[in-house]
Symmetry: C2
Subunit: 249 residues, 2 copies
């Protein structure tokens, strides 16, 4: 039986014109990818869309139905372009309401006369949503069904991930082994590596070239959840490399 049958999967939806325009370089995708990997949740897809309600709704519905969890970042502030809560409520067919518990949290930091209409928008969450705590600026994100809605500011998003993590179902942790292929070009080991990959279908084997200082360097990454299968595949890759080096010498 495939390990994948028991896997917990996830997608990320990044919401924000500022990422698509290049103005802001996203730092959340890589952080969440690492975080989910450590939890044993498989990140399977990422989308970045503009601050456009229909685009957000379409992406939310495509992703929440396909994966165990959908994490969104961005668009939950007080300005007119912050429309994530509205879009999530529409995507799920739920009423958006002003949560008095969030108003109370805001009043811990604001004078009542400063709690204006725009700031009150941040207290609106879909009916039935749970808070996702924000340790920095207090106004929480929320989790509704399998959708986790977080801020776009990285420091806040990270505290929200910490807050929601204990509530998530997690799968078997991925075991990851990396081999450096010193002196062997990718084109030389590609065929043999494909044969090893075919022998260990529960294991994912990737070859990742990088280029710097005028030369290529390759890494081979072996990933899987079955420790014995990963170890056997690593041994097979190592033997392949040793054989190819011997042939080159």
């Amino acid at each position: 039986m495939s390990q994948a049958d028991h896997s917990i999967s996830a997608a990320i939806l990044v919401i924000g014109d500022e990422i698509l325009s290049g103005r802001t370089k996203d730092k959340n995708i890589g952080f969440i990818a690492d975080y989910l990997m450590a939890l044993g949740i498989d990140l399977r897809e990422v989308r970045i869309v503009a601050d456009d309600e229909q685009d957000i709704i379409d992406a939310v519905n495509a992703l929440r139905q396909r994966y165990t969890y959908l994490f969104t970042t961005g668009g939950i502030g007080p300005t007119h372009d912050d429309i994530t809560a509205d879009a999530i409520a529409k995507a799920l067919g739920l009423e958006l309401y002003e949560d008095p518990r969030i108003i109370a949290l805001m009043l811990e930091r604001l004078k009542p006369e400063d709690l204006n209409e725009a700031r009150r928008r941040m207290a609106r969450i879909p009916r039935g949503a749970d808070h996702v705590e924000n340790k920095i600026s207090k106004v929480p994100g929320f989790m509704i069904e399998n959708v986790i809605v977080m801020a776009g500011v990285p420091a806040i998003m990270q505290t929200m991930l910490d807050s929601v993590a204990p509530r998530l179902r997690t799968g078997a942790k991925m075991i990851v082994e990396t081999l450096e292929t010193v002196g062997l070009p990718e084109g030389l080991y590609a065929k043999g590596l494909g044969e090893v990959a075919a022998l260990y279908p529960s294991v994912s084997i990737g070859s990742y070239p990088s280029f710097g200082e005028g030369r290529f360097k390759n890494s081979i990454v072996v990933r899987g959840k079955d420790a014995e299968q990963v170890a056997a595949a690593v041994t097979a890759v190592q033997e392949l490399m040793d054989r190819l080096r011997a042939e080159q010498a």
Copy 2:
């Protein structure tokens, strides 16, 4: 008439398990976003998918039909997990063939006996595709219909963008003005900013908080293609800020 009617749009599809696992932090999205902005092409959506043929096909077909151009990165090397060319050919219903011009390029750098089966895989492109030159390792990417297929290694991807750029239709350049909101919290100007945004529908106005050294800093970005409208919106935002500062003083 809306400026958007004349806009040239694009999406990016990043292909690679290594991004989703967190092993590699993507550097291509931000680079391409900046590059397209400078060309006057509007980046509207980004997706990241795994090295899974059906996932790639589905994303390619969704994105190439919706936008003027689709740029893909990753998955065009010689190893078993490099399946982008196969998936693109299937998505477009085209035959994949070994291009003798690419074999000739490879033989400029390889001895004939080193041109093995795995390396020959990199010479396969869909029937009718044009090359996208690779100044670093020579094996080209390709452009077929409105899909531009590039390497995942950033240095190579960047030479490919330079190679394909002269072939692209470009739109009016985006004019971008950034205002710093020193001393004004986002919640204070959010309502007024929304009113300005409503007055200038051809202009996009975003408010971007960032957090560092224990405090928030906000930027307001005004973007549009009509210089007069952008200038008028910037003036209106500036007047709003001046008024709010005067009220606070």
